[in-house]
C-alpha cells in the first residue's frame, strides 16, 4: 500500500515511462476489457505474454513486481480453495467426500490468467506514470470532473493520513511505547487511530479552506498540457494492433 502511495514505479526512463499517459490509459483500458470478456485460451495466454512483455519493457525490478502480484494472488488462492470443489461440472477426481470438477478448475484458471494479465498491464502502463499525470490525462480524455477529483483527493489524503500516522506513531514510540497484549496497548492503538482520523479530517478541512482562499470554485484547471509525440502514436498503434490481433486469434 505504502509503495503504491509513494509511486515507486513511476520513476524510470523506459519507453513506457515516457509514453504519453493518454495513450497508456487507452491501451490499458482496451486491454483490460479484452481480457475481461475473452473466453479463448489462445487469446488469454497471448494476453498474458503481452502483459509480461510490456512489464519487461519497463525495466522495473522483478522482485518488486512479484511482491505486488503476490498481494493479488493471495486472493486468487482463496478461489482455488473454493471453486474446484463447489462448481458444478464433470467430476475428475474425488478427494475424500469432495468432488473436484473440471469446470471448476477451468474457471479458476481463467480467473488467474485474467487477473494477472490485467494487473501486469496495469503495472506496465499505469504505475509508470505519476498519479498526477494520470489525472491530467483523464481530464484531457474528457473524463467527468467529479470522478477525476475524487481520484485525486483519495490519493492526496491517503498520503496525508499516512503522514499523520507516522507522526503519531513516532510520538508514542519516543515515549517508550511497546506493543504488547494488554489493555494499555489496545487503548493506545485506539487513540492512535481515532486521533489519526480527527487530525486528517482537520487537515483536509484546512487544505480545502486554503484552496477556497485561492479562488477554487470546484473546477481544476491544468497548467501543463501534454505534447503528443510521433513516437507516442507509433507505440500506441503497435500496442492496439497487438490487442486486436489477440482478439482475432483462433
Amino acid at each position: 500500500m505504502i509503495n503504491v502511495i509513494k509511486e515507486k514505479f513511476s520513476e524510470g526512463d523506459s519507453i513506457l515511462h515516457s509514453l504519453d499517459p493518454r495513450v497508456k490509459i487507452i491501451v490499458a483500458l482496451l486491454f483490460s476489457v479484452m481480457v475481461a470478456v475473452s473466453e479463448k485460451y489462445t487469446s488469454l495466454s497471448g494476453a498474458l505474454l503481452f502483459a509480461i512483455g510490456t512489464v519487461a519493457l519497463t525495466g522495473l525490478r522483478t522482485k518488486e513486481i512479484i511482491s505486488r502480484l503476490f498481494m493479488v494472488n493471495s486472493f486468487i488462492f482463496l478461489l482455488w480453495l473454493m471453486l474446484p470443489f463447489t462448481f458444478p461440472g464433470k467430476n475428475i477426481y474425488t478427494l475424500g467426500s469432495l468432488n473436484i470438477s473440471q469446470e471448476g478448475i477451468r474457471y479458476a484458471l481463467l480467473i488467474t490468467i485474467k487477473s494477472n494479465s490485467i494487473i501486469l498491464s496495469g503495472i506496465a502502463l499505469l504505475s509508470t506514470s505519476s498519479i498526477f499525470n494520470l489525472i491530467h490525462a483523464l481530464r484531457h480524455l474528457y473524463f467527468p470532473d467529479k470522478l477525476t477529483q475524487l481520484f485525486f483527493f483519495t490519493y492526496r489524503y491517503a498520503q496525508t493520513i499516512h503522514s499523520e500516522y507516522i507522526r503519531l506513531n513516532n510520538a508514542i514510540k519516543i515515549r517508550g511505547f511497546k506493543a504488547q497484549t494488554n489493555f494499555h496497548t489496545y487503548r493506545t492503538y485506539a487513540y492512535l487511530v481515532g486521533m489519526m482520523l480527527v487530525r486528517s479530517y482537520d487537515r483536509s478541512q484546512r487544505v480545502y479552506q486554503a484552496m477556497l482562499c485561492r479562488g477554487f470554485k470546484g473546477k481544476f484547471w491544468t497548467l501543463n498540457h501534454f505534447a503528443f509525440k510521433k513516437s507516442d502514436l507509433v507505440t500506441g498503434a503497435i500496442m492496439i494492433s497487438g490487442i486486436i490481433g489477440l482478439v482475432l486469434l483462433p
Binding site: F132, A210, H225
Partner: protein, 226 residues
C-alpha cells in the same frame, strides 16, 4: 492621519464570534483597515488573531455584527468569492497550503482559478518566482521541499494572485534569520502593497509594518508599545 471610515477596505463593526461551547472570542469588535496600510497584529496565544483572518475571508462566520469588504457587506459564501480573489491569506502551516505535485502547478492554481489564460499564467509564474527569488523551483516536488522553502512557496502561491491586501499568519515562525530577511526584503520591495501580519516577532514587525494593533480580551486597539 485621519481617514474617513467609508474608505476602509475591510470594515468590521460590532463583531461577535464564539466557537461552539466556548466563551466569546470577540464581543462587539470594531476594526477598520485602509488601502495602503501595513499593520502588525499582536496578541497572546488564543486571543483570536487567526480567527479574525478567517472571518475576513469568510471561512468562519460571525454570530453578530457586520463585515464590509471593498465597500460591500459580506455575508454569504458567494459574497466572499470576490473577497478571496482580491485578498490573499497565507496559512500558518505551509502543509495546509500546498497540495499540488509541483511548485509550478501550485503557484498556477490561483491564477488559473482567476481564469488567466496559459500565457498569462506562465508569465505570472515566472514573475512570482523571480520576485520571491525562487527561480529554478518550478519542477520541484512540493512535499520534498525544506520547511523554509515551503513557507516561501506558499507565500508565492498567494502572491501569484496579485492580491490587493495580503494577510500573513505568523510568516516568520520557525524560520532562520536568512529566510526572515528574505521575507522582509520581499515585503519592502512592494511599497504599494497593503497587508496585515500576525506575528510574535517584534524585530520583524518593526522592519515591515507602520503600526501595530493589539488583540486583547476580544477587543482590538492600536498600540504604541511593542
Amino acid at each position: 492621519m485621519k481617514k474617513r471610515e467609508n474608505e476602509a477596505v475591510i470594515k468590521m463593526a460590532d463583531l461577535s464570534f464564539a466557537y461552539p461551547s466556548r466563551d466569546y472570542v470577540f464581543k462587539k469588535l470594531n476594526f477598520n483597515f485602509f488601502q495602503g496600510e501595513r499593520i502588525g497584529l499582536v496578541g497572546s496565544n488564543g486571543s483570536g488573531k487567526t480567527t479574525l483572518f478567517h472571518l475576513m475571508m469568510g471561512l468562519l462566520h460571525p454570530a453578530e455584527g457586520k463585515i464590509e469588504i471593498f465597500g460591500k457587506e459580506r455575508k454569504t459564501e458567494n459574497d466572499f468569492i470576490e473577497v478571496r480573489e482580491r485578498i490573499g491569506l497565507v496559512f500558518q502551516d505551509p502543509d495546509d497550503q500546498l497540495f499540488s505535485p509541483t511548485v509550478a502547478e501550485d503557484i498556477a492554481f490561483g491564477p488559473l482559478n482567476l481564469r488567466k489564460n496559459q500565457k498569462e499564467t506562465q508569465k505570472i509564474l515566472k514573475e512570482t518566482l523571480e520576485a520571491l527569488s525562487l527561480s529554478g523551483f518550478e519542477n520541484r516536488i512540493t512535499y520534498n521541499l525544506s520547511y523554509g522553502e515551503k513557507r516561501l512557496v506558499s507565500l508565492a502561491t498567494v502572491w501569484a494572485m496579485q492580491p490587493e491586501v495580503l494577510l500573513l499568519d505568523e510568516p516568520t515562525i520557525w524560520l532562520d534569520e536568512e529566510t526572515i530577511a528574505k521575507i522582509v526584503q520581499i515585503l519592502n520591495s512592494q511599497p504599494h502593497l497593503s497587508y496585515i501580519i500576525i506575528s510574535h516577532d517584534k524585530q520583524f514587525l518593526k522592519k515591515t509594518t507602520d503600526s501595530i494593533y493589539l488583540l486583547n480580551k476580544g477587543k482590538i486597539d492600536r498600540t504604541l508599545f511593542l
